[in-house]
Subunit: 343 residues, 4 copies
Amino acid sequence: MIKVGIVGATGYTGAELLRLLLGHSHVEVVAITSRTAAGQRVDDLFSNLRGRINLLFTNPAAETLKACDVVFFATPNGIAMQSVPALLEAGVKIIDLGADFRLRNADIWHQWYGCEHACPELLPEAVYGLPELNRSAIRTARLVANPGCYPTAVVLGFLPLIEARIIQTGHLIVDAKSGVSGAGRKAQTSTLLCEAGENLKAYGVDAHRHWPEIRQALIQIANEDVELVFVPHLVPMIRGVFATLYARLRADAVDLQQIFERRYASEPFVDVLPAGSHPETRSVRGGNQCRIAVHRPSDGATAVVLAVIDNLVKGAAGQAIQNMNLMVGVDETSGLSGIALLP
Amino acid sequence: MIKVGIVGATGYTGAELLRLLLGHSHVEVVAITSRTAAGQRVDDLFSNLRGRINLLFTNPAAETLKACDVVFFATPNGIAMQSVPALLEAGVKIIDLGADFRLRNADIWHQWYGCEHACPELLPEAVYGLPELNRSAIRTARLVANPGCYPTAVVLGFLPLIEARIIQTGHLIVDAKSGVSGAGRKAQTSTLLCEAGENLKAYGVDAHRHWPEIRQALIQIANEDVELVFVPHLVPMIRGVFATLYARLRADAVDLQQIFERRYASEPFVDVLPAGSHPETRSVRGGNQCRIAVHRPSDGATAVVLAVIDNLVKGAAGQAIQNMNLMVGVDETSGLSGIALLP
Amino acid sequence: MIKVGIVGATGYTGAELLRLLLGHSHVEVVAITSRTAAGQRVDDLFSNLRGRINLLFTNPAAETLKACDVVFFATPNGIAMQSVPALLEAGVKIIDLGADFRLRNADIWHQWYGCEHACPELLPEAVYGLPELNRSAIRTARLVANPGCYPTAVVLGFLPLIEARIIQTGHLIVDAKSGVSGAGRKAQTSTLLCEAGENLKAYGVDAHRHWPEIRQALIQIANEDVELVFVPHLVPMIRGVFATLYARLRADAVDLQQIFERRYASEPFVDVLPAGSHPETRSVRGGNQCRIAVHRPSDGATAVVLAVIDNLVKGAAGQAIQNMNLMVGVDETSGLSGIALLP
Amino acid sequence: MIKVGIVGATGYTGAELLRLLLGHSHVEVVAITSRTAAGQRVDDLFSNLRGRINLLFTNPAAETLKACDVVFFATPNGIAMQSVPALLEAGVKIIDLGADFRLRNADIWHQWYGCEHACPELLPEAVYGLPELNRSAIRTARLVANPGCYPTAVVLGFLPLIEARIIQTGHLIVDAKSGVSGAGRKAQTSTLLCEAGENLKAYGVDAHRHWPEIRQALIQIANEDVELVFVPHLVPMIRGVFATLYARLRADAVDLQQIFERRYASEPFVDVLPAGSHPETRSVRGGNQCRIAVHRPSDGATAVVLAVIDNLVKGAAGQAIQNMNLMVGVDETSGLSGIALLP
């Protein structure tokens, strides 16, 4: 059994990690830490887990975590980087669901996250944990930076087009929509049911931290400069990310459907829908799939990609477990075979 | 492997049966019938099943169904009773998720469902499929009437109190609330998002078909007459039944918490919450649990029971599978270990 | 023009007061105070008011408020009582939307609200501002305690039955449901969209502050002791209170429908629905109506009353304005003629 | 008083017309027709109108409608064009909330709406009822084609940019989002709460009837060809349209904020938000405003416009009344001063 620890498990990604790991046949969860909830039963906070877990939240103690095979960080940005070096030294594999190791450049990290990076020397080693892009590197990684929810959907959506070199990468447009769980479980006015319910708004149009993350990944794929406009929106639902992507086509005679189907033919968690389809977020609610459709409307000059994921699963906890499976060498789909809940 | 057929699988209970059965290690789904959707891929209708099922809906053909070990009917009321006798004769075990076999008296059935019962001779044999009440009878049954969603929550909530003979059964009050999926997937104005969303209403106060069903079950338990007022409400959410039950206590010196805990101590799917708790429907979303709390507020003369289930799982498909497990002799919890989705 | 001040206008009742008062032809809003938002434009906080108000939030200054004809307190409990005596002395009429003056007994207030009352000498003078019960006293009051949202719906629902002396008042049952705006606009986890959305729960079953308030009002009406069980529930919608009331009937031969219609025949804001009706909260969304239906299901021994209000309007800001209209002698319906928003 | 008739008032736009017209001081509603609901009380269907209207739905009779000053058609596409010629001849002014008179070219209408146009001779005369674009023509029109909800938000969002000739009109991108009420009140599976709730999807990516309508209006403004990609999405909320518009800028040195503020300085219902703002749909819920913000993110090459309306008000009934006010010569804002409902 893989001994797993979770640091900072009082938020939604932590809760989702627990839901999935408790059904993972190769995993034993041995430590769940939280400074604020230490001493409290885990199933007091997450009533869905009653009868399935007997642990309490504990204070994050180095000794306990060092005894784990894998430690997940589901902490706010800037926390994981404080503890990761010591754990790596102790031989623990790390998957950070936060943003501490997503950007390769410490200066850019500083610029977007507002503080000095605590261990910039680890940034080159950290692997960006999108299996469809970096599978072999993940297999051998000690430290995986789990991608953000928006970047997961956006990069999977653009990947086949960029690899096929058929779109103009200088003017990509990303119109992204997220359910409210993407904003976390912290007490704040803006995500109250009475503020976010029955309402739609854009936010962060001029600056959003997922913009440099997306751009970095697309540049890696394109091997040339990429410019994109990224407009995220908050949708009155709990789970789901919907990315609508727009790119000008370089050539006329391309079969977009075939390009997507071929690229993802052997991917266990990317589902290319039949031509003409419209994916919906509920088709992946609670599941680890990314479902994608590609269209070419109006005058045919623009590729429109529609990609949906569950932000807490393929956009966070599920992808983290997919990464863990690769890192420890079990079946990539272990613990991730749950079917999405519909309706 | 248990060969399973599902008749009428285009509604929400059918979809939920599929979601659960596809993860059931002892089951092979061999036929999914629907007159209206015959020829259509099942995963065209339920996009969450893409990649997990390769079947088409077929026209209900006696031959195919007779080759099954178990057939589930997820049909509108009045349909199952047309086909059940022939299937029973062919040795198929039947679980009807509709109401055709829930009431033991054909006249009362006629009165509430508006047509003659097609096989009243089977009513005495049909077992009311609430395992917590009728487990041993279910094990040997050929024909199980799966309880309604409201009755499941209400009967489980009153059961310990009535068995312990500590409440006045002449004036029970049931204030029940249901998510909209309880009304099914049919096209109708009243359950449109714009009608049922951001709205709360009671309905069927003067007559609801679950009233005689609840009353019949409570009379069986009480072995005396039971009178109850039943007021259902439609809540702007997809899944969940919440039953708030009120009963006058006969005696003063009773430990309600202990009575509930003892009664359900060995039940795999009934979770008695600690004293003072307030269950919530999301704690069972997608799971087969019924979570219950019991209170004694104000002057202590009234027991207040709060019971929650997922109407599509413990209130329909999950309970049907629990019944199937008992009928075919596999572990009662097989295929039902999924953890509720929260948030 | 009536010069109006609002103290503590950053919550939902404050916002709703503004929406309604800005459309009131006899009112000029001259001061809107908030310690936390002082200096901020009001329409920065409430974007629906853009173009309709040019004021900033100011610090609550005694001088400004003393220059008002009427001051509304939309503050947390325990705040209004600090300032009310001085304002009354200055000749200002006060309407408190909080609970400071709702309970007549200072000891009971202390017991439920956890602190000493600052001006118990004013409690006998304060009028409980339910116009349908206390209209004439409100007309001459200096200080009105605006009822809570649940009490408004519950008292209006029981009023005709108790006045007609046809129900047993020793065992009333109130099963109440509220939209989330009843919990206010403060940052807290429990009312996040991801916690309160797609979920139903009861809360405060063993103790809720509206219980003594309801009981006090019903005792006033009954002129005898009243016992009630009060179970509130949180519903995943923004606005609306739905009260389902259960009372054992004393006599058999009563026409409940007629009793309600007669009692409320001349009330501008109470709408008795035709026999057999089921009111819905959206029928009063944004409006000041209370819509009521009365039923007598099953064996006829129990009266079931269904009453709906918008908790922010008839349950708070609208009723406060109705009280103001009575206190200053303008048409009781002034500023309250808006039609509910449906869908 | 303006005598008004409404044809086909059983849908949401009809209900909203009634809510607004009943508060319009210059209007008397004299006829409300519906074939399906004839004989039924209007307030039976729309419970929010109880106490405010005493009319029944009637069968559409030419005589009654001919006695009106203005007739609104809130009928499905293809109905209004059957009756309009006779009513015009009788001197009635017509506002069609459907699509029958929106496209100037009968062949294009045929292509998108699937049947022959019944009175193509009226198409040149019909005025596209967007007051901000065609105010003077509306004042003198006999027949106004009320714009669709998406086109209203999209055209108002692009209008200042196109008039200022600062964007490339060959590759406009419209990512539009609508609440479910835009799909109407008809019984259908796809807009059930359990299908459209907690879900986000795109639809009609390859062909949507608002695409030619938007394009026609933009071409009128640009006086040159316009190409656009239009991707509509269905959002799990009742009301609201959110249009996110993307356009490549032709020149670098432009002050987008100033261009918008100047263009709409005297418009009563277009509110340009301060620079850096993010409008939200609830800020216009029930109100006739369009609120707009303009951004220039990332490398500054793209203008991003965010525009919100209530699809039933500025996107349908409110705009229709604004048009009526212009046509009959009363204050343009009459009956439209209600403040949006928030929360």
